[in-house]
Symmetry: none
DNA sequence: CATGAATGAGGATTCATTCAT
DNA sequence: GATGAATGAATCCTCATTCAT
């Protein structure tokens, strides 16, 4: 009961944030979106800041759960297929929550300048996703699908490209099927942009 | 005379924005940084919004000028070297202005939702950089250094990876030499992450 | 049954008021102190204002009852002893409830400015105590222990000194035995600060 | 210029506080009283708290200045006359600012419970006045006008009686000439309430 | 042109009170 | 009767913008 309300508030907050931006999203707007009054928000969250932090944490944990599920499911598949599944998963989740995560991330970065150590928690999710990609990468190296040389750079590169990809879809307000956009990304990542000698 | 003042204000604005964030940067702070009073800012810029827009445009044009200069200079070199030079150029400029551009870009994205058509101007710079990369890519294809198949995706991918790269350096507050960070990026981009068969 | 609850609420209210102050004491705090929910408070008292007024009246009547009891008990004693007993009684009660009465009195004074006639009820208790002192004073005059000249001023003076005395103990957070603090007060009051000629 | 504004704000604040009470006095009310807008208040004072503290300090220092002036002036007079002058001075100042000082003092007392050490500054003024009375008392003892026995209690007693006296005038909304109310107080204080044997 | 005090709309937060369960 | 979540009016404070000097 109480939990449903929290969820409803978080969902509303995400919508309003996505539409109005981090700063423009007023508590009144969020309340109106849920269909309650401002005061109610404060029955569930300490203050605006804590509401946003909770939202970030919840969404982050959702993504990680999705990824772990996907990794579990694809355990027997070869590296390329697993990576493809993983990225699709990230893409799918990001399409839904990208603007939110992006806004909150930007904010972390901003405030990270002043309050040292706060940034750590804010980057946790990205780091967790990265860790899973690293782990996956080790399989890739073992399978002979990845060179070990630059392996440490790959997670970041992949995430960067994913992020940009989602961002461009957001801007274009279109949503190409995941396969279609991930395929060239994977081709370039694995095989390189240069023509294969053979 | 008038121009010098504008430049001073823009510089101050960038510093304050980088330190305090888009929203926290107050007109008073900017004025104080220049060493003038608030009123003066309004003699040079219509309002806060226009000051920020000008700042974004100016910095954008500076980057484009740098890139064009670099492309001019490297005209006789092979594709890989030119691309390397180009990315170094982007990296260098981004290191100096990244936080600014990132903040302003986020803001554009945010307000892009509401004010249709406004976003276009905001994305102009990224698009211009992208165009130059496309153009460079054509040489790459001609030189046989790039497959033509996914050529249309390459500019975006490269830019995404550059952006992430700069971002990570900002977060880590360290600044590895350009060559060192761009090398693996280029290796992966051109040759792929998978081991070359030969 | 109903009465016990009222008493419990009033006691809790007094504690919270004493700890947090008139304004900072929230209905939720009072309810929590009793161990009930806010709604319950409203089953026993019209609203916050009425709860506080009741509290003031109840405590006031308790003091008056104590004083009357003391006066009854000391009926046969000489003036000085009766006055001493009376003041000890006031001191004892004040030590327990001073902060409360002080807060409520201040509040009366404040609102007395706006709502004419309201103040009267608020000052009732002080007036009642004063009346008893006046009455006692008449015995003092008869006994030859008081000059009749300024007799009308004495009750107020005594009360003022008592109030200050309690206040200073509150501030110092110490509680000297009643006799010890009342003795010099009585000496000064009855014999004066100037050395006796004899 | 800037100082005039500060003074105007402080005066307005005092009026509004006296009329509405410590808590009911809104920043908007104070601003309206001065004839400026809220924002202006914040150009002169950090926040509400600081405005009130400043007001208390200023009024306190005004009283001390008055007292020191009076003590200076009466230097050659005998103790009784000097004390009379001193008390008149306190009475006069209190009549003008009593409600203010009383409100602020009550507030100090309240918050003194929680924030230890804060109370000290709040009680400073009362303590300063007390010090001057002590000093004056020493002359009284030397002059043979005061018994030294309870001398340490006298300042507090006098102040308590003065405070009550002013309070009662405030409540009664009448303002008896200073001499008339101070005379019986002094008579009682110096000669005692009991009839002189001689 | 520069100044900087004044403006006042705007937003986060609190808390007495209500009322459906 | 008891509960406690919902309500929303009320208030402090901020800061972009203006304009008289």
């Amino acid at each position: 009961m109480k939990e449903e309300a929290r969820v409803a508030i978080l969902d509303a907050a995400e919508q309003v944030l996505a539409e109005q931006g981090l700063h423009a999203a007023r508590m009144d707007d969020i309340a109106a979106r849920v269909g309650v009054s401002v005061g109610t928000l404060y029955n569930y969250f300490e203050d605006r800041q804590q509401l946003l932090e909770t939202l970030r944490d919840v969404r982050g944990r959702e993504l990680l759960a999705l990824l772990d599920e996907e990794l579990e499911r694809s355990q027997q598949l070869p590296y390329r297929a697993r990576l493809h599944g993983f990225l699709c998963c990230v893409l799918e989740h990001s399409r839904t929550h990208f603007r939110l995560l992006s806004l909150l991330f930007e904010d972390s970065l901003r405030r990270g300048a002043s309050r040292e150590g706060d940034l750590d928690r804010h980057l946790e999710i990205r780091r967790e996703v990265s860790l899973r990609l690293e782990h996956l990468g080790k399989q890739g190296v073992k399978d002979g699908a990845l060179r070990s040389e630059d392996a440490s750079h790959y997670p970041a590169m992949l995430l960067d490209m994913m992020q940009g990809l989602v961002l461009r879809q957001l801007i274009a307000k279109q949503s190409t099927p995941a396969d279609e956009v991930i395929a060239p990304l994977l081709r370039c990542f694995l095989d390189g942009a240069a023509p294969r000698p053979g």
